[in-house]
Symmetry: C2
Subunit: 214 residues, 2 copies
DNA sequence: CCTATTTGTAGGAATTTCCTACACGCAAAA
DNA sequence: TTTTGCGTGTAGGAAATTCCTACAAATAGG
């Protein structure tokens, strides 16, 4: 009962590289269904009625227009649309208020981690507004960090080894337990930290100096 | 014998969102070992000798400096370094020449697909220079597209269904073959198109109108 | 017409994912 | 203090996935 129906997603991001890497991330989630993508605002508006997205993920600064304007037009065309704006800079409370006023459901800045984007997307899927806890400063994985500190000894060992890309088999051997046990640790670690795939853990461990392999 | 030793990668990208999503991509490859990351050029230079990367992936336009300058400094500090520059705009032949002159191994623009980045990274890992085929215009998955057209009938059917997130089991049933067979198709499709994970296929199919699931 | 490759089909082994289980210890509640 | 309960170390099972290998029929090139 995580989420009811699929998220019909439309993505408007100018640069292909960012759009692609965002989409690769987002599409890993089964609930995300891509219904369209554009580089520009006008193109987005043109294709809106044909694609009928539930969520529009759109950059604030587009080549041809600004995202806010496009979002407003889109909302007038299709009021049920949930708009998630990606801003280039951290969002001040004042700006945020303006956005919300305009009917935008959430704003994520490019200075926030990608995971934030997915999280926000999941939140606003049903038309709810979502304001992330502290999106002003360089907050960063505060949740994950707290969770990490709460890991048990064994879990940390495994987390460390996994982040160093040590194969499960070797970890099991080193710790003198069965592979199954290692997998259990892995599962628990991922659940506790809220991660889905190895790169997330690697990156996290690296960033918190817990990952030094050698 | 795909690649000899691991790629010791240092990433300098200003915006967290882009950096993260690029890293998530790149770290999916076992051969990539992240040794450091920075948002700024000076920070990169400071940490260079401590991290000793083999490849420096750096944005052209940094907040504090321009990537080219930083790259040149980095190269004088550590001549064995392979620098991969990420430019904001498509790269003209002239600019490319200047970059190569400066000792940069390759340039990828943000208007190119992410896969291009990984491909390039793999190419330059051993110090070779890599100039992608046509990086001027909106080329785009020309390889994959050609490969797609060369898929056999059965393969296309499976590709289509998989892109629509139909479970393997259901595909097998629909086509009246065993799950194993479907997996074989899947493997072949991925090999032929040069993809690694489902989102790539989904995106590709979507972009070429082959993915419409009703 | 004959060899070489592609295509449709599938099996096996190793790994991974997702659950469930369960004893033990420590901590809070009674 | 005795009980109840949650977290931790440990592991098993089922299903799915990945990575190979196999092999006959179809087909394309000579």
């Amino acid at each position: 009962m995580v989420g009811q129906r699929k998220i019909r997603l439309y993505v408007t991001v100018g640069q292909r590289m960012l759009r692609d890497s965002l989409l690769f991330q987002l599409l890993l989630n089964d609930d995300v269904e891509l219904v369209g993508e554009s580089e520009t605002g006008v193109d987005t508006l043109n294709r809106l009625s044909a694609t009928r997205p539930g969520v529009l993920l759109i950059e604030e600064n587009l080549q041809d227009n600004d995202g806010l304007t496009i979002a407003e037009s889109a909302l007038s065309l299709q009021p049920s649309l949930s708009v998630l704006l990606i801003s280039d800079t951290p969002v001040s409370t004042g700006r945020l208020a303006i956005y919300l006023e305009a009917g935008i459901k959430a704003v994520v800045s490019k200075h926030q981690p990608v995971q934030e984007l997915m999280k926000t997307l999941l939140y606003i899927r049903n038309g709810q507004v979502y304001v992330s806890a502290r999106n002003t400063a360089a907050d960063d994985t505060p949740t994950a960090l707290a969770a990490y500190r709460a890991l048990s000894g064994r879990e940390r060992e495994v987390a460390h080894l996994m982040a160093g890309r040590v194969p499960v088999r070797d970890i099991a051997e080193q710790l003198g337990v069965s592979c199954k046990t290692v997998h259990s640790y892995k599962d628990r670690i991922f659940v506790k930290l809220g991660f889905e795939r190895l790169p997330e853990l690697i990156l996290f461990m690296h960033r918190h100096q817990h990952g030094a392999t050698s």
